[in-house]
């Protein structure tokens, strides 16, 4: 088709133009202070010591809350597409895998927990921790025999919404206690944040596993 012969180069040409323009603009971005200074100033009231964690869970906690919501929604969306056998259809069997997993999973759990805990003061946090835990879960899924029962649907749902619920509950509590929505009393901030992080990391891990499965397995039914 003639049109196609024209459109492809045209798309390329226009993409290049756009790239050029973008490059010019980004390279020409004026130096600006950013928010490093305000973050640094507010660190002592944040309840944590790592600025990224402070931003994630306190200053822009609402973002993170919604992000948990996105994750959960993604799972729900996938579930809503109906029952389907998860991918892969057949777990990979073999002694090496089992052996590796037997060692790897505890390590992953410990690492994940550590990452969550360390998030308040150093690089790390719920997402990182959750991701590691999730990876462990994925491995587990790959190796589990088909017949093994999954946690019940309610448990899955509870685990899935744990993070969001915890965040929402804390946020609403702040609203009701006069600290504003998503506000923590400074004294409690650290504990609350840690609690939220823990809950969130469980949810994130579970979510990742479920996302990996890409749909509710029929096996869920058996588990009930």
């Amino acid at each position: 088709m003639i049109r196609r012969r024209f459109t492809s180069p045209l798309v390329l040409l226009m993409s290049l133009t756009l790239a050029g323009l973008l490059i010019v603009v980004v390279l020409d971005l004026p130096p600006q202070p950013g928010l490093a200074a305000p973050v640094a100033d507010a660190m002592d009231r944040s309840g944590v010591r790592h600025p990224v964690t402070a931003v994630l869970l306190n200053f822009r906690g609402y973002d993170t809350f919604l992000e948990l919501a996105v994750l959960m929604l993604a799972v729900l969306s996938i579930w809503s597409l109906g029952l389907r056998d998860p991918i892969p259809a057949r777990p990979v069997q073999g002694p090496v895998l089992h052996g590796t997993l037997r060692h790897l999973i505890p390590v992953a759990v410990v690492t994940g927990g550590y990452l969550v805990w360390v998030g308040s003061s150093d690089s790390g946090g719920a997402f990182q921790g959750g991701a590691v835990l999730g990876a462990a879960g994925v491995m587990l899924m790959l190796s589990l025999p088909r017949e093994m029962p999954m946690p019940s649907a309610l448990v899955q749902r509870l685990g899935l919404s744990l993070g969001a619920f915890a965040f929402l509950a804390v946020g609403t509590a702040g609203l009701l206690t006069g600290h504003g929505f998503m506000g923590y009393p400074p004294a409690w901030a650290y504990h609350l944040i840690l609690g939220i992080e823990l809950a969130a990391s469980v949810s994130i891990a579970l979510t990742l596993v479920l996302l990996f499965l890409g749909g509710r397995s029929r096996r869920v039914r058996h588990g009930r």
Partner: protein
């Protein structure tokens, strides 16, 4: 009123996010009771939206720093006239959709998924309307997209799945463009708050590129011609309550965001030039959507293309923004009027579809004659779409034409009026089957609520015909542009 004073410093805005979100979470936990959570949430949200609108109307815009962190560090919730009007519209239409879904989804095995996703969508939209932070807006946008896509795919079958896929990809494309804009803005100014950005944005390359990327990204999401192709299949093939939610509400979300950006963040950027381009696209949408609606063989497709056409009106926003300081209000009122009317039309279409078992216009006559209430709702709400008097559509059209003429932009007035004619043509085409001779047939038995809800919404369209003044005075409480 004394209780208004009490209300003055209550933070109502967060509840509009908390309530539907909590509802969504609870519905997810107890799917069997999802519909009751949904109804409860809908009712509470409506009450809250009403209270918020009254509060804003009485006391002006409310700005809430989340977590007590003031900008630029924290995120703000902004409940001003514009936001509270959109919230109210969403709540009213949302309640209607919920009630209708009660009947529409009765007996559906997977009906609870609608409720869960719908409450998520609602929460996401409310969060978006209230958000005062460009990045937070991105997150809410994604929430909206995921929920909507899942809702579209809910119908199952090849057509809805393909439509959902296309919708998702276009939306993601739009989101990415938007996010790039956010990055550029942060790169240039180091802040994320709408007000803060507005205060800083000046005429330079980075904000220009950011504005364009964000706007075009959102245009793709709001299906402005010629980026509309994903909409008709998606809205046309989804279950009726979903179609109603998408066409009446979700499309407005990205429009709202564009409006918000240009009103608050980019007032420093010149609109001359852009207004012509957007005007042309808007006119193209009105014409194209109208023509396609004249041709589509199925009821819901017609209505979906009608949305394409009516989105065109929304983007007369740019010429109006440039030419008239109050111009955008007309467009917002139009968005509200269209939201209510379009929801009514889609819900009525859903009722007819359920009763007849299909929605082919040619064979719909008997059921339309048998289901008088629904046909009526279709008629009245259709009149609202056309902009016939006593409906909100008329007031909206009036405001649009008035604004256009006041600003001397008679050509856009012509677009509005001409679009009304096309709308008339396709709306009356919808109603035509009801007047063919032949027997009346009520079709399959349906719960009464499915007939009453569209009718109630249609009557609300008439009510909107008298809501012009309060709506405008609410809109007058909108936060003005920061730097402008």
């Amino acid at each position: 009123m004394p209780w208004m004073d009490v209300m003055a410093d209550m933070a109502l805005a967060p509840w509009l996010v908390i309530l539907p979100l909590a509802g969504a979470l609870l519905a997810g936990l107890w799917p069997a009771a999802a519909r009751w959570w949904g109804l409860l949430t809908a009712l509470l949200t409506l009450v809250m939206a009403l209270l918020l609108a009254l509060q804003v109307h009485a006391h002006g815009p409310m700005i809430l720093d989340l977590g007590g962190w003031a900008p630029p560090l924290g995120i703000t919730l902004v409940a001003d006239g514009l936001a509270s009007l959109m919230l109210l519209m969403t709540a009213v239409v949302g309640l209607a959709i919920s009630l209708h879904a009660l009947g529409y989804l009765a007996g559906e095995g997977r009906g609870h998924w609608f409720w869960i996703l719908w409450l998520w969508l609602w929460a996401a939209m409310n969060a978006l309307y209230l958000s005062g932070d460009v990045f937070n807006l991105y997150v809410t946008l994604e929430l909206v997209v995921l929920a909507s896509v899942a809702l579209v795919a809910l119908a199952g079958g090849a057509a809805p799945l393909v439509a959902a896929m296309r919708y998702l990809l276009v939306s993601l494309l739009g989101s990415m463009a938007y996010l790039m804009g956010v990055a550029l803005l942060y790169g240039a100014y180091g802040v994320l708050g709408l007000q803060a950005l507005g205060a800083q944005v000046a005429l330079s390359a980075a904000p220009m590129l950011a504005a364009v990327l964000m706007t075009v990204g959102l245009l793709a999401k709001s299906a402005l011609f010629p980026l509309h192709v994903w909409l008709p299949p998606a809205h046309g093939s989804a279950p009726a309550p979903v179609s109603a939610a998408l066409s009446a509400l979700v499309v407005k979300v990205s429009f709202y965001l564009i409006l918000r950006l240009w009103l608050t963040v980019f007032p420093a950027l010149p609109l001359s030039g852009l207004d012509v381009l957007m005007g042309v696209l808007a006119a193209g949408a009105v014409l194209w959507g109208g023509l396609m609606a004249l041709r589509a063989p199925r009821l819901k497709q017609v209505v979906a293309y009608s949305t394409v056409a009516q989105v065109g009106y929304l983007f007369l926003l740019f010429p109006f923004l440039r030419a008239h300081p109050e111009g955008w209000k007309a467009v917002v009122f139009f968005a509200v009027a269209h939201g209510v009317a379009k929801a009514a039309v889609f819900l009525a279409a859903g009722t007819l579809q359920r009763a007849a078992g299909h929605d082919r216009l040619a064979d719909l006559g008997a059921v339309m004659r048998g289901r008088l209430k629904t046909s009526f709702a279709l008629g009245i709400a259709g009149a609202g779409l056309v902009g016939l008097p006593f409906t909100g559509g008329f007031i909206a059209k009036w405001l649009l034409v008035q604004t256009a003429l006041e600003a001397g932009l008679w050509i856009w007035a012509l677009v509005v009026l001409g679009g009304g004619l096309l709308a008339g043509a396709y709306v009356f085409r919808l109603l035509g089957p009801a007047f063919e001779p032949g027997p009346a047939d009520r079709g399959r038995p349906l719960p009464a609520v499915m007939e009453w809800v569209p009718l109630a919404l249609a009557l609300l369209t008439i009510g909107l015909g008298f809501a012009g003044t309060p709506a405008l005075s609410l809109l007058a409480r909108t936060l003005a542009g920061g730097g402008g």
